[in-house]
């Protein structure tokens, strides 16, 4: 066990897989010599050399196209798109190329690649560098979508993503890079499609991921201490595949469901979960599913405005308390 930052976990996760498999190659903008714009990939160039760790031009379409071209031959590229907002620049590969190759080719072509990207708000970067866009990827059949909330999960889910036979979009949260957590020694390999009950509780289920996890946990603590409400906080971790067994069994025990989403309101990932709960858990629920989200607005740059936009622990507390009439 050692304490590690989320940032350092990224480099350790990539290094673990590159050490294991010579077919893993890593490239992106500023990832090699500069060590990543968020300093997440420091040391990889020195450890694995310029053949396997490469700086690319600022050419997102060429980066993802080259990653897929290489993946089709059996290499296992990890490509970085610096800010998840830039997925829109190369969305053809996300929407039309990666996820369709296997299906359209009768299974002849495989696309075993990972796109790592810095997602989410909190750094005052404004509307074009702060979005939380895991819902963009979630809606496309053929992709897998992960969003870890802590350093151990970063390493374990990175390993699972690299070893997965399908394209995985790996959303790292920019505001979590400095967060610390306990990480086991040695190789860590997790499984995609597994949610985790991080704090058990009997009064309501709260689903969250990435940056919304620490906020949900803080809210849970306040609810318990000040209002006597025990919520169960579930880290969804993986949107595709989705661990419905864990989520629905939690709802069956607590009878209430809340989602905490950084996505803007319309079509955030919680909308899909609310829809699933309405179909699959209607008779378990004692009240409506409540979504706590960023409003449907572009994100502002000013400190106070950005803070107002994102779900905060006090807002989560308030919403849950009112909904439960407590």
């Amino acid at each position: 066990m050692a304490e590690l930052t989320y940032r350092d976990a990224v480099a350790r996760g990539i290094a673990q897989e590159m050490t294991r498999d010579p077919d893993v190659v890593f490239f992106g903008e500023d990832v090699a010599k500069a060590g990543g714009v968020f300093k997440t990939t420091i040391g990889l160039l020195e450890q694995f050399g310029p053949r396997r760790v490469r700086d690319t031009p600022i050419s997102e379409q060429a980066i993802l196209g080259a990653a897929m071209g290489a993946a089709m031959t059996g290499l296992k590229p990890i490509a970085e798109i610096m800010f998840s907002d830039f997925l829109a620049v190369c969305f053809d590969y996300i929407a039309n190329e990666f996820p369709k190759a296997r299906y359209m080719s009768n299974g002849q072509l495989k696309c075993p690649l990972v796109v790592r990207t810095g997602n989410g708000a909190g750094s005052r970067f404004g509307a074009q560098h702060s979005q939380s866009v895991e819902n963009w990827a979630m809606m496309i059949p053929g992709l897998k979508v992960v969003a870890p909330s802590n350093p151990a999960d970063v390493i374990g889910l990175m390993a699972a993503a690299v070893r997965d036979p399908d394209p995985v979009i790996f959303f790292e949260h920019k505001s979590l890079y400095a967060a610390k957590g306990e990480v086991p020694d040695g190789e860590i390999v997790d499984r995609l499609g597994t949610a985790k009950i991080v704090r058990p509780g009997k009064d309501a289920t709260v689903l969250a991921l990435a940056l919304m996890m620490p906020r949900a946990l803080e809210a849970a603590e306040t609810l318990a201490q000040e209002h006597g409400i025990e919520v169960e906080v579930v880290d969804v971790r993986s949107l595709v595949p989705l661990d419905l067994a864990t989520i629905l069994s939690s709802v069956a025990r607590t009878h209430r469901l809340f989602t905490v989403e950084e996505n803007p309101r319309l079509c955030g990932w919680g909308a899909e979960l609310a829809s699933i709960a309405a179909e699959e858990a209607f008779y378990d629920l004692d009240g409506p599913v409540v979504r706590i989200t960023t409003p449907h607005i572009p994100l502002p740059a000013a400190d106070n405005l950005e803070d107002l936009a994102l779900p905060s622990a006090p807002r989560i507390v308030d919403k849950i308390r009112r909904s439960l009439n407590a």
């Binding site: 490469r54 080259a66 897929m68 031959t73 190329e97 299906y103 080719s105 399908d166």
Partner: protein
């Protein structure tokens, strides 16, 4: 540097360097081009009869490009193209039966009917598709070149694209990356003069597509793409350049499609004279046929026999494509995701 790059730009459609081939090889090229021509004619006919649905982009008129190119590569070299792709599949050695059955949406098609005209692949033949988005095959082909380079094998990525794709930004991202990393990619521009219904002169500020790699130091040549031996010689040279570690090469093949952009395009944006002049004066198959007869390499009887063999092959493919069963409904759900190893 700029001067050196400039010297490598050549437009020589009227003074072709031709590959030197034996009579048998020339007959083989003739047969391969004819197979594509007859296949496409049959596909067009079946489309008209309602046996093929969706999109169907025919390669008629352009046969010399892929045929000449494939005669210049080695086993293991990879091929990728856009959606006018039937000819490339046949040139890569894929079975006409499986291609036609994909067009008719049958379970015996290369993608079990789930790909259609624009999306067929053969890992066995190193054919990586078959891509429906204009320009997307260029970064993908660049990635294939990256994989060859990474593995240290001597393979080359043949990346075909149309003149229309040459105005896509991602093409230049790819040129830059390929030149920067010295990737073994030969970009073959099939300039059939029209991007859908808009001519090159009406869509491209600089019509010399072969020169578009010049800022990146990529050599480029413009070739008569209706002359299969000129194509073959040019691709041989370009492939050798790429294989020897010198980086990418751009070849612009001046060619012509006789049919519309797709089966639903009546092609009213050009004159009938223009089309018939190309057919009469530049047809790639007639050119080889004339060479074979004039040179005494094959008499009319031999050519007739080849025509009949090809025709029989196409009839067999068409019958197969109509008699095969539709995909099993369970196929709707297969190959969305792979199996995860425990």
């Amino acid at each position: 540097m700029a001067v050196a790059a400039k010297r490598k730009l050549k437009s020589r459609p009227d003074e072709p360097t031709e590959a030197e081939v034996s009579a048998e090889k020339l007959i083989d090229l003739y047969r391969r081009m004819l197979l594509i021509r007859r296949f496409e004619e049959k596909a067009g006919q079946m489309y008209g009869m309602g046996l093929i649905g969706g999109f169907c982009h025919l390669y008629i008129g352009e046969e010399a490009v892929v045929t000449g190119a494939m005669a210049a590569v080695e086993l293991g070299d990879t091929v990728i193209t856009a959606y006018r792709d039937h000819g490339h599949m046949l040139a890569c050695g894929m079975d006409p039966k499986g291609v036609m059955a994909e067009l008719t949406g049958r379970r015996t098609g290369y993608s079990k009917g789930k790909g259609g005209s624009m999306h067929m692949f053969s890992r066995e033949k190193n054919f990586f598709g078959g891509h429906g988005i204009v320009g997307a095959c260029v970064p993908l082909g660049t990635g294939l070149g990256f994989a060859h380079r990474y593995r240290g094998n001597s393979r080359v990525s043949l990346t075909f694209l149309g003149d229309g794709a040459m105005n896509q930004g991602q093409v230049y991202e790819s040129f830059n990356m390929a030149a920067l990393w010295k990737l073994p990619v030969v970009y073959i521009i099939e300039n059939n003069r029209y991007g859908m219904g808009t001519s090159v002169s009406r869509s491209s500020a600089s019509p010399n597509l072969y020169g578009r790699g010049e800022p990146f130091g990529i050599p480029g040549e413009q070739i008569d793409g209706m002359n299969v031996l000129a194509v073959m010689a040019a691709v041989q040279e370009a492939v050798e350049h790429a294989r020897s570690g010198k980086g990418p090469f751009i070849l612009e093949m001046l060619t012509y499609r006789y049919r519309g952009h797709s089966m639903s395009d009546p092609a009213k944006y050009r004159s009938k004279d223009e089309v018939s002049r190309m057919r009469q004066e530049h047809d790639p198959i007639d050119q080889v046929r004339k060479r074979l007869v004039d040179g005494g390499f094959a008499d009319e009887n031999r050519l007739k026999a080849i025509d009949n063999e090809v025709k029989a092959q196409i009839t067999e493919a068409a019958d197969f494509a109509q008699q095969s069963l539709e995909p099993d409904p369970s196929e709707l759900w297969t190959d969305v995701y792979g199996e995860v190893e425990a």
